[in-house]
Symmetry: C2
Subunit: 133 residues, 2 copies
């Protein structure tokens, strides 16, 4: 009986649990990702300074932090003071590490008075393995 | 005099025009890119069907069209009927080609009655060479 139970448990594991790790929309690599849209409106009088500070912060983050998978920032063509940033972190720990880095803190403190509004929208990717060619 | 004029013009060209093609934030590779945010709200009763149709269209576009550099779609965690898609095309011609493909037309016609609103926001990337690790 004990052996039969073990076999049943093994079969259950193989059919019910294992497929979750290999199939489905998210692979193990992308499963713990943290994805967010940051939406900002910037003081027009400080737009050039803000762009420079954000660019510096993004380039430092992506090059120095393996867990920052992208910070893809765009401004609207018709409203250049409106920014959206697609933020992808490998996992929550990578994000927690990111917001304690010197380059992030420099950006955050340096741009505090340039940012008129900030909205952070936690999001779910439709195709988590998606890249940029 | 004619020769001196020509020399002056050549010097002007070399110092004023040539640097534009090699330097600056955007490389030749990224300069003609078309970047857009698509913002959609979906009928909640048809959300599953919409997600499937969008996923199929995105996967076909990115795998079949070299000029579709990414279609990174997210839905909001707190409002799963609200989607944002970061669309990057190699250039306008790649976009024009994209909207005539059978997979795009199938998606567009098949989801027409699922989409409650659609806003297309032409955008400018801050770091055009940005990728997703």
């Amino acid at each position: 009986m004990a052996i039969r139970h073990k076999a049943v448990l093994l079969a259950l594991f193989a059919f019910a649990v294992l497929p979750l790790s290999g199939c489905g929309p998210a692979s193990a690599e992308t499963q713990g990702q943290m994805v967010r849209l940051a939406k900002l409106e910037i003081d027009p009088a400080q737009l050039d300074a803000y762009r420079a500070a954000l660019k510096e912060e993004i380039e430092a983050s992506v090059s120095l932090e393996p867990g920052v998978l992208t910070l893809y920032a765009v401004s609207e063509k018709d409203r250049p003071t409106h920014f959206t940033i697609l933020e992808i972190y490998a996992d929550r720990a990578a994000y927690e590490h990111h917001i304690k880095t010197p380059h992030f803190l420099k950006y955050k403190q340096g741009t505090e008075k340039m940012v008129k509004s900030l909205e952070l929208v936690d999001s779910v990717p439709l195709v988590p393995s998606m890249k940029i060619k």
